[in-house]
């Protein structure tokens, strides 16, 4: 079931350069929240701060509060690995494990965390592939084909299935369809729509129309600051901030 995320006073740096300033956001459970903004505004960094992926980069730093239900993501006793099991991530370029079969790819998160029960694994793999709308295309070649032998759109759906298999509360998606053709993009968007019944989804996109199609809430970032955060219809029809309006109407991008 989905949980919400409470973000307060979030700041992030790459070495000395500050890339996020005082971000405050309340992400609603079981809704899709889109993060939009021009290139370099900090959208990907923001999302990577939510599951503690930002700190894996050398010399990167984060301060602030991120709470998911009762989990204090940056709490002193919290282990990053646990956070990432509860907050899953799908990356811009599909990255299935190249030397593993489709089955092993989906099961990787479970197997490598000690899960061994064969029958349950089979069920979870099937369920995850069904949820990511890939099951029917691969069910006969689960163990025979490698993850990397699928098409771009299929690979991305495989990565979604892999992320869903560990049953996270929240799914972060960093421009998941930006490398895909329109038909695959459409499939992914449909997927996002269905996923929100069970998960909370945060999706970064540089495509405003995608945000308008898919998201319940939208946050507009500009140069490391959160300019406006509101229901999607409001952002795209009557934005409160002039900068939001300028971006939406294409005055800069």
């Amino acid at each position: 079931m989905g949980l919400g995320i409470e973000v307060k006073n979030l700041n992030a740096w790459f070495s000395k350069a500050q890339v996020l300033q005082d971000i405050e956001m309340s992400i609603q459970p079981n809704k899709v929240t889109a993060i939009i903004g021009p290139s370099g505004c900090g959208k990907s960094t923001y999302v990577r701060c939510l599951n503690r992926m930002h700190e894996t980069i050398p010399d990167a730093r984060v301060t602030g509060d991120v709470k998911v239900g009762d989990l204090d993501v940056y709490g002193p006793d919290t282990v990053a690995v646990d956070v990432r099991r509860r907050i899953g991530m799908v990356f811009q370029k599909a990255n299935p494990f190249p030397t593993m079969s489709i089955y092993d790819n989906v099961a990787a998160g479970l197997k490598l965390n000690g899960f061994r029960n064969r029958r349950e694994l089979d069920e979870i793999v099937e369920r995850s592939l069904v949820m990511s709308a890939l099951w029917h295309e691969v069910k006969d070649v689960l163990k025979k084909k490698s993850g990397a032998s699928l098409s771009g759109g299929q690979q991305q759906r495989l990565c979604i299935a892999r992320a869903l298999a560990v049953e996270p509360d929240i799914l972060l998606m960093d421009e998941p369809a930006s490398a895909l053709d329109p038909i695959s993009t459409g499939k992914i968007e449909e997927l996002v729509f269905q996923l929100k019944e069970q998960y909370t989804v945060v999706i970064v996109t540089h495509n405003m129309q995608q945000a308008a199609r898919v998201a319940d809430f939208t946050g507009f970032f500009l140069m490391g600051k959160l300019i406006e955060f509101d229901r999607t219809e409001k952002i795209f029809t009557t934005p409160s901030d002039k900068r939001t309006e300028d971006y939406i109407t294409g005055r800069f991008g």
Partner: protein, 277 residues
């Protein structure tokens, strides 16, 4: 102009292959006559008598190489993983430099070093010291190849693993290493093939033996026969029969190395999946 470039490159590659095939064909020609069941299963006979074989040398080489691999592979791969995934800065540079220097040390010097450090302590020549010497020689090749193969694994793979909440050590072993496994195995096989034929270090460590050395309490602690040593001894002897057996021994050595490398390829290749199924 293009045509000239292509043809001179092709010519160069043919010239490179000529010594390889020449040696192999000559070995076949000289050696195949002396290979028979006796050769593969019997002990050497006293000088002057015809017949006998190199069975003890074949087994001895296998024992020594197994020991060498037990040392060379884990330490080599471990060092490679450290250099690629965890190391940085001066210490890692120092490790790399040491590995490269170690790689360049003449094998006879390694043999003498192990002689002082192990043989003198043990009080005997042994397969153990031979295995240690050859294992040490394997480490730099395996370490550098492992490091390079791991560096070729794209960072997106590591990120994907981290994003799933897999601990760093686990993802390094089960995902990053596994992705690079094919190349690492090639590196291991290269190192193996190189030390399989080294003779000089064995002169001071395994020393050679005309008899079997298979009893549990002596297998690691007494002089052991090895194919390169036996080939050397026979080749410089004045006996024709021993010369023929030396050729046969050389041929057997090459065939064993090729078989080992191929077998590992087949077994390891079996578990790999490639990008295009």
């Amino acid at each position: 102009m293009n045509w000239m470039m292509i043809s001179s490159a092709a010519l160069a590659s043919v010239i490179v292959l000529i010594p390889l095939f020449a040696i192999f064909i000559y070995l076949l020609y000289k050696g195949v006559g002396a290979i028979n069941i006796d050769f593969l299963t019997k002990l050497p006979l006293p000088p002057g008598e015809t017949g006998g074989g190199m069975a003890n040398a074949i087994v001895g080489s296998a024992v020594i190489l197994a020991l060498a691999s037990l040392i060379g592979v884990p330490f080599g791969i471990g060092a490679g993983i450290y250099l690629s995934e965890f190391g940085s800065g001066k210490y890692a540079d120092g490790v790399r430099f040491t590995a490269d220097v170690l790689n360049g040390i003449p094998s006879i010097v390694v043999g003498i070093a192990i002689y002082s450090l192990v043989v003198l302590r043990q009080g005997h020549f042994s397969a153990l010291s031979g295995g240690i010497a050859l294992g040490i020689m394997m480490v730099p090749t395996v370490a550098r190849t492992t490091e390079e193969m791991l560096a070729m694994v794209p960072n997106t793979v590591r990120e994907a693993a981290l994003g799933l909440g897999i601990p760093h050590w686990r993802s390094t072993l089960s995902i990053t290493l596994r992705t690079a496994a094919s190349g690492i195995i090639t590196g291991v096989m290269l190192a193996f093939a190189r030390v399989a034929g080294e003779t000089a270090p064995l002169l001071f460590t395994a020393f050679g033996n005309q008899f079997w050395n298979l009893k549990r309490d002596t297998i690691l602690t007494q002089p052991t026969a090895a194919l390169p040593l036996q080939i050397y001894t026979y080749a410089i002897s004045p006996y024709d029969d021993w010369h023929r057996q030396a050729w046969a021994g050389a041929l057997v050595l090459i065939l064993l190395i090729v078989t080992a490398v191929t077998a590992v390829r087949i077994v390891a290749g079996h578990g790999q999946m490639r990008g295009s199924a």
